[in-house]
């Protein structure tokens, strides 16, 4: 008897510039919780989007119960018995739970039928719901329950859960696991997408590990430990490092001390007691899987958010935690946030105009409120030449540049102002290999000339290549720093998966 419900064979899906899934092949057993584990960008989301009919594969076959399975929309996928609970909920905030559930159903159903069905589902799977409560009044866990119930109303055989615990409190996680176990007992299959090692071991039966679009391994979780999973997830990335520590001075010029910040928003991560020190000329890396507090921390480091609950930031013996971005630039602190389009640059403006987003005291761009266009243009031309930005000229719109060129331009703009410290988030995110290389080179060169750099990145390879020290952020907490040339990759992997020892 075949107990396989889903066969995935040779699925390949490429996007411009990246192959998200390369010949992905594995089977999913019926009546089990099957985990797909991987870093960001490993190809997990692409794969489940294909299963749910949101993307079409370039090649490959999927068989559901040994029959060919091909869907082109989520509605069709649901009809065939596959349901999905997304990480971000799609509920109407102003409507009640009942109204949201009615809206999500593909076939017609009366209110009384619905209520009967709901009562049944609620009690069977530990999913209590207040039907008349408006969605706005619900916690993240309760909203997720609504989403799960909505999918269960269609009686799916396979339930895809995308990072389901990322917005939940520990208690809510417990109760979710009870629900999942009840669903499996009933004969349903759960496909569990995650990057948390602990969860894979505690509730999943089988795990498929993906890295750079490929399947690394599919195996039972029973003989795995967090450590073996971490190694497989990250691969053997440690090569001999040529990072040079010689130029770093003993003097600490940037210190973050016990920063805590609460947001009261399930989609933001509270920061918990974050401390670290950066020395002159040092590149300090902060690793971690997306959504663990990186962007929240970045906003505090740049001064875009100065509403911290406690803690301090000291730079050159000045307390700066209450300074806005411009006041920090006045002290020669420079920053590049993750998003080029609409954050560190405005796509609708020309390259020259984009220079003005980040002004330092010695730039001499403005006199009595009037823009000195010649100075700005000269600066822009300098950046273009020095950082080999490919563009027709400084009057080209930022949106006309490729991602890599625009990133080179933005980073060049910051470096050209000779900052004392550069704080940069995901410096090579979404750009081609050539630009990636030249950006990393510029950062290393900058540090050798005495600038301290803080790099926040999900790309562990990158951090290992360029940083001197590295620590990991997980759930808003920052680990202690490790010297990059001494740390074991497994150690970082465990920390990224939330496993401290």
């Amino acid at each position: 008897m075949s107990d396989t419900i889903l066969n995935i064979e040779n699925i390949t899906k490429s996007f411009p510039r990246v192959v998200a899934n390369k010949k992905v092949t594995f089977d999913i057993k019926k009546n089990a919780v099957h985990a797909i584990l991987g870093e960001n960008g490993a190809g997990k989301s692409t794969l489940v989007k294909i299963l749910y009919g949101l993307l079409e594969p370039d090649q490959g076959n999927i068989k559901l119960n040994n029959k060919d399975f091909k869907v082109s929309s989520p509605a069709e996928a649901r009809k065939q018995g596959i349901g999905m609970v997304f990480q971000h909920f799609s509920l109407f905030d102003s409507l009640s739970v009942k109204e949201n559930l009615i809206l999500g159903i593909d076939e017609k159903m009366s209110y009384s039928d619905l209520e009967d069905k709901l009562e049944n589902i609620s009690s069977r799977y530990n999913l209590p719901l207040d039907l008349d409560a408006p969605i706005t009044a619900l916690s993240a866990g309760e909203k997720q329950r609504v989403e799960i119930v909505r999918i269960l109303l269609q009686d799916p055989q396979i339930l895809i859960m995308d990072e389901p615990t990322s917005v939940l409190t520990p208690q809510e996680v417990e109760s979710l696991f009870v629900t999942l176990n009840a669903l499996v007992k009933e004969g349903r299959t759960i496909l569990y997408i995650t990057h948390k090692l602990e969860e894979v071991i505690s509730i999943c039966d089988t795990v498929t590990i993906m890295r750079s679009g490929e399947i690394v391994d599919t195996s039972s979780t029973s003989n795995q430990t967090a450590k073996t999973l971490a190694t497989k997830m990250l691969g053997q990335k440690l090569e001999d490092l040529k990072t040079n520590y010689g130029h770093i001075k003993d003097e600490v010029n940037f210190e973050v001390k016990n920063i805590s910040c609460e947001f009261n928003d399930p989609f933001l991560t509270d920061l918990k007691n974050i401390s670290f020190q950066v020395r002159v000329g040092e590149i300090y890396g902060i690793a971690g899987v997306a959504g663990n507090g990186q962007s929240e921390l970045m906003d505090i480091l740049t001064g875009e958010n100065i509403n911290i609950k406690s803690g301090s930031i000291t730079f050159d013996n000045k307390k700066i935690e209450k300074y806005g971005p411009q006041k920090r630039r006045d002290l020669s602190i420079s920053f590049v946030p993750e998003n080029r389009l609409g954050h560190s640059a405005v796509p609708e403006l020309s390259l020259s105009e984009n220079i003005l987003l980040s002004q330092f005291p010695k730039n001499n761009f403005i006199k009595n409120g009037i823009i000195l266009k010649n100075n700005v243009d000269d600066f822009a031309n300098n950046v273009i030449n020095e950082f080999k930005v490919i563009t027709p000229g400084n009057d080209a719109k930022a949106s006309s540049l490729s991602g890599g060129n625009l990133q080179k331009y933005v980073i060049g703009r910051e470096i050209s102002s000779k900052p004392k410290i550069l704080i940069i988030s995901h410096p090579t995110w979404g750009i081609d290999a050539g630009a990636e290389h030249s950006i990393r080179e510029s950062l290393i060169e900058l540090s050798q000339n005495g600038t301290s750099i803080i790099v926040i990145s999900q790309d562990l390879d990158e951090l290992i290549e360029i940083t001197h020290k590295i620590s990991v952020i997980y759930d808003g907490k920052l680990s202690k720093p490790f010297r990059t040339n001494e740390v074991e990759i497994e150690k970082l992997g465990l920390l990224m998966g939330g496993k401290n020892e």
């Binding site: 971005p325 411009q326 946030p337 609409g342 954050h343 405005v346 987003l357 409120g369 823009i371």
Partner: protein, 357 residues
């Protein structure tokens, strides 16, 4: 088979040339639609369009009238550009205009028997202050309480109109006015000087051209103009740059209110000469169309104000010679806005028909 309804898909690159042509295309489409409406009403479209768009400006007096109407439209529209560039939707210019007329006109009534060179400048200044203060109310509500400025600025229009109503039937009623709801006339030195003998075009036109020039300078040469623009494109980028967005909101509303207030004062101290109920044929609302038709650009706004001013004149002539209600002018204004927004959408997005399986 393709689906019946198209879906809207973003174009990766919008054409710069088309951006320039949008206003022209909108006007052409408006004329075509207008002709169809005239035909349906049983008029010869050529004659109707001639009556509407050519005959009003075929005399010196007509051209002067065109400038009289275009003056407040252009002045308010350039003020609105400060808001719209910053992505603030100030719909309440009509109220700010009314408040400017009340403040400036109040000075005129107070000094109704004074003849002095300082009177008109003082009235203009008071008009600017009145408009700016009225504009700052939605700014405060927006920045402190996060209210939607579209609603608050619009509602304040009606508040301002009722205040004017109250004043002209109450405390400011002309004691020699046979109980008509109007104020005393301003003294001669409280009136906008006429530019030419026998024509109504007045000094407000010079003020408007001057403020348009100043605005052009601010938009293109100063860091303040740059900050407005960045904040309009992306508030995140503005925050990254460290621009104070609260201050920008205040400035945009205050400047827009001041310009609308001056426009209101120029109306009452120019062609009208006193305060009464209907000082503005919706200039404050129509200027929104002018601002967008002119692509928020100073030169564009000058041309757009002339085009829209023509619809006011054309409506009067149409009523006179074709016996069509003058509301047809509003139809033309509506059509221009409709085609403008439609063309704008199609520049940035395209329609595609999804394949159904």
């Amino acid at each position: 088979m393709n689906s019946l309804f198209p879906s809207v898909v973003s174009r990766s690159q919008s054409s710069g040339l088309m951006n320039f042509f949008v206003p022209i295309i909108s006007i052409v489409l408006t004329l075509i639609t207008g002709s169809i409406i005239f035909i349906l009403l049983g008029f010869d479209p050529v004659y109707a369009l001639y009556t509407f768009f050519i005959s009003p400006i075929s005399s010196t007096y007509g051209i002067s009238e065109l400038f009289v109407k275009a003056t407040p439209l252009a002045l308010i529209a350039i003020g609105l550009s400060y808001c719209f560039k910053n992505n603030i939707y100030n719909i309440g210019a009509e109220g700010q205009l009314t408040m400017g007329a009340i403040f400036g006109g109040g000075i005129g009534i107070l000094f109704h028997d004074t003849n002095a060179f300082w009177l008109l400048p003082l009235m203009i200044f008071a008009g600017a202050i009145g408009g700016a203060l009225w504009g700052l109310i939605p700014a405060i509500l927006k920045t402190k309480f996060n209210t939607n400025e579209i609603l608050t600025s619009l509602m304040l229009v009606y508040v301002a109109l009722f205040i004017l109503d109250y004043l002209v039937v109450g405390p400011w009623k002309d004691p020699f006015g046979y109980s008509f709801p109007k104020s005393r006339p301003f003294s001669e030195s409280g009136r906008m000087p006429l530019l030419f003998d026998g024509l109504r075009v007045h000094f407000g036109l010079i003020i408007t051209l001057f403020l348009i020039f100043v605005s052009w300078f601010i938009f293109s040469k100063t860091i303040f103009g740059f900050q407005l623009k960045v904040s309009g494109y992306s508030s995140k980028a503005a925050r990254y740059a460290g621009f104070n967005q609260t201050t920008l909101v205040f400035f945009a509303f205050a400047i827009c209110g001041a310009f609308a207030g001056i426009a209101g004062l120029a109306e009452v101290s120019g062609p009208i000469g006193l305060l009464y109920r209907d000082i503005s044929p919706n200039y404050g609302f129509t200027a929104i169309i002018v601002a967008f038709l002119g692509r928020l650009h100073p030169i564009g706004i000058i041309f757009a104000s002339l085009v829209i001013a023509l619809t006011y004149l054309g409506a009067e002539d149409a009523q006179l010679f074709l016996q069509i209600p003058s509301a047809v002018g509003f139809i033309f204004q509506g059509l221009v806005l409709f085609y403008l927004l439609g063309a704008e959408l199609l520049i940035n997005y395209k329609l595609t028909y999804k394949k159904l399986l």
